[in-house]
């Protein structure tokens, strides 16, 4: 009973911000809408569509191409590229944005080089929608790459062989078999890219591109109109929901497509210029998306090394404290929900658990609004009710922030927790029960030790995600709680690339951890 009530309460808490944001759809403010329609929305919609479609098509092109190359062919260093091409995931988009604009900037390394070879007029302006497409493509193509590569590895070869036995060459097999069969995976990757692109706040604000997330931020912090922010958030959340429903549908299709058992993997060896071209293609993507930005960051970090003072360690301390607290909170709640879902096998419970992981689809900027509005309401109510003298109770405390992280990253923690729990079979649970273990004793003696690996993964993933998170941190942090991400944002909005590099290097290094986890996991699965 207690477990049931806890799950009800947690689900309600986690879904509250969504309800708040969505409810402003039902109470549109005509005055605000007139303003939005006239001055804000046309630009936002144009930018968002351009950004979304551009990023989508380029990531699919790049991701699928690289996945096919590394999955089906052998060429110099192919095995290294296979995992190294995931590395760009380690760089937060806002870091990549400022490094790329620094590189392309007047006086930047790339522009100087271009000027020397008389190439300058061809370089695009980074602080534009085109620049944002460029940055997002480099940052997000690994999603498509990873999923498409897994699809090609697990079924590409067997499907091609079946095709060959029916008279299709390998090249025809790619277009007629491998590509259509991998479609659900590619679509899933593409939708993920689209969701991340829409949710991105840091990169677009650094590149001066107005999108829904930056508009929400400006409405709140420049115009001080929480109402406008809510109205904008409700549009964005609608788009996000549509994407999420599509993603769920695609996920279903993926289950059916996975009929073939994994066959022995066999990569065709490329020779001569083809081999060199393949290596060069992989190397240049890796260089542009990861190596050059990282080197540039290190150079800048070295130039600003005198910043490595107590203030810097303060940012690190804040980041680590927040991330640890959030990770523990998220994984604790995830454990409760996952365990509850198993103990109470009812349709509405599993629906509630599913609903509580909706937050992953909701952009951070939207969530910040969705959390802040009810908390402010609660504060006002309490102050009025008890005639208190302070102006805020929960507003501007860590509680708000942690709550927002919980909603945003519950899915990140829930997924590995649930799959770890699946490893504890119902019979093992029954065996322990028949030996007299119940309740918390059962969980602590059987589940937690058996789930250790999965829980650790969950903790790590949430830790890193929170550390890299920007919009929620920026909008809901208590006064003085500047983190590494906030510091980067503030320095870059003043164009101080060097000062931003020092905290960014640390974030990239931390960001390597989940990338390592993913590549380690997927390469283990396929070998």
């Amino acid at each position: 009973m207690l477990l049931r009530l806890t799950i009800y309460a947690l689900t309600a808490l986690v879904c509250l911000p969504l309800v708040v944001v969505l409810s402003s759809l039902w109470s549109p403010d005509p005055e605000i809408w007139a303003h939005l329609r006239g001055y804000v929305l046309p630009d936002l919609v144009r930018n968002t569509v351009y950004l979304g479609l551009g990023t989508l098509s380029l990531t699919v092109l790049l991701g699928v191409g690289l996945a096919w190359l590394t999955a089906m062919y052998q060429f110099p260093a192919a095995n290294y590229f296979a995992w190294a091409l995931m590395l760009p995931l380690a760089i937060p988009t806002y870091v990549l944005a400022f490094v790329q604009s620094g590189l392309f900037d007047y006086g930047g390394a790339l522009r100087q080089f271009a000027r020397d070879v008389g190439f300058e007029s061809y370089l695009p302006e980074m602080r534009s929608v085109t620049g944002a497409v460029w940055v997002m493509t480099l940052a997000f193509y690994p999603y498509v790459y990873l999923l498409a590569r897994n699809a090609f590895l697990t079924m590409g070869n067997r499907a091609l062989e079946a095709g060959q036995s029916l008279g299709l060459s390998r090249r025809q097999g790619f277009w007629r078999l491998a590509l259509p069969m991998a479609r659900p995976w590619i679509a899933a990757g593409a939708l993920l890219v689209l969701m991340e692109t829409l949710a991105d706040f840091g990169a677009v604000s650094i590149l001066n591109v107005d999108t829904f997330t930056t508009a929400i931020y400006k409405a709140w912090f420049a115009l001080f109109s929480l109402n406008t922010a809510s109205q904008l958030a409700s549009i964005l959340v609608l788009i996000a929901f549509v994407l999420m429903i599509l993603e769920q549908a695609v996920r279903g299709a993926r289950r059916y497509t996975a009929t073939g058992r994994h066959s022995q993997h066999y990569a065709v060896a490329l020779t001569g210029w083809r081999a060199i071209a393949a290596s060069l293609a992989c190397a240049s993507v890796l260089a542009i998306a990861f190596i050059i930005p990282l080197v540039q960051l290190m150079v800048w970090a070295y130039q600003s090394r005198q910043d490595l003072d107590s203030r810097y360690w303060g940012f690190v301390g804040h980041s680590v404290t927040l991330s640890v607290l959030a990770a523990l909170l998220v994984v604790g709640v995830a454990l409760l929900l996952a365990y509850g879902k198993r103990r109470l096998p009812q349709a509405h419970i599993s629906l509630m658990v599913k609903a509580s992981s909706l937050g992953y689809a909701i952009p951070g900027a939207v969530l910040a609004v969705g959390i802040f509005v009810p908390i402010a309401g609660l504060d006002n109510y309490l102050i009025e009710q008890f005639a208190l003298s302070q102006s805020a109770i929960f507003k501007g405390t860590l509680v708000v922030m942690l709550l927002a992280y919980l909603v945003r990253f519950l899915a990140v923690g829930l997924q590995p927790t649930q799959s770890a729990l699946e490893r504890v079979s119902p019979n093992q649970e029954l065996a322990a029960r028949s030996l007299g273990y119940t309740g918390w004793r059962l969980v602590s003696a059987v589940h937690i030790p058996m789930m250790r690996g999965g829980l650790l993964t969950a903790l790590l993933l949430v830790f890193v995600d929170v550390m890299k998170e920007l919009p929620i941190t920026l909008m809901t942090r208590p006064f003085g709680w500047d983190t590494l991400a906030v510091r980067i944002f503030e320095m870059t909005s003043e164009g101080q690339w060097q000062q931003a590099a020092l905290p960014a290097v640390l974030l990239v290094l931390v960001g390597l951890v989940p990338v390592w986890l993913i590549t380690h996991h997927s390469e283990n699965k396929t070998s």
């Binding site: 067997r158 499907a159 062989e161 079946a162 095709g163 060959q164 036995s165 029916l166 008279g167 299709l168 060459s169 390998r170 025809q172 078999l177 259509p180 069969m181 479609r183 059916y256 497509t257 996975a258 009929t259 073939g260 058992r261 066959s263 066999y266």
Partner: protein, 350 residues
Amino acid sequence: MSILLSVDNISIAYQQQTVVKQLSFELEQGQIACLLGASGCGKTSVLRAIAGFEPIQTGQISLQQQLLSQPKQSIPAHQRRCGMVFQDYALFPHLTVAQNIAFGLQQWPAKQRQARVAELVSLVKLEAFVEQYPHQLSGGQQQRVALARALAPKPLLLLLDEPFSNLDAELRESLGLEVRALLKAENTTAILVTHDQHEAFAMADYVGVMYNGQIEQWASPYELYHQPSSRHIAQFIGEGVLVAGKRCQEDGSITLELGEIGVDVCACDAGEEVEVLIRPDDIIHDDDSLVQAKVLAKAFRGAEFLYTLELSSGTKVLSLVPSHHNHQLGEMIGIKLALDHTVAFAKMHI
């Protein structure tokens, strides 16, 4: 009849490790052959080499006098006209049953293609499922789609890689007979790879027993069971025990060391110690027999019991006995030897 497929002296190696060693066999038009062996014996590699998925290091493979494979040179798989049924069927999940079957018929005129698909659909009895997707079918139905898809382009040779291993035992047997009838009806030449001898016996005209990358014996199922060419095959195929015997110096007949039932069984030319294969059906239960054996173990098989018996000499033999003779463990029962022909191997001296 002319030779359709000739596999001549082929070797296959992966990274220094040779899995198939100088293997040869030939197949005539319309024959169904089976490569039988435990997992890892190289049988699937042979199949994949014929299909064109593996290069060969020595020898050559030819089909209808056309050279398909030789070291460092081979015709690509898609130009070989070898159909293949994969162990996991490898159906295309994004295509319906009809589209799967039609997949290899892209070059055919639309009318003929439709007619061929309809013909195969009715041949494998899937008329009701043409518009369904593979994941909506049962294992046996998927198997049939895979077979129909491979047969559709009228391949010169059909290759089946453990086609029934994902099905349950009952379905395996009935489908095996069905598939054989189907292949014979289409006059298709086929090679089947399996580790299940019952499957091999049910399907094949000829069986090649593979061991360690080589074919130990190439023969009909009947021959294989009754005239195994080696000790290994005698033990691998069917049930039975090897019983020690001795050849007489004078007339070459064999005296079996079966305790009291030692009988002269056949005439041979030289005198030495041998071992004779005794199948369970070579030992007959006879209550009147003076020879008594102790029941050590019994396994009920419905119509029969398979008894493990111990003779007074300590030799153990197997005997198939009609199941109404239900004896207890430890009981003594009368038996006699009824050998039609003798399979004997020189005794191994260890």
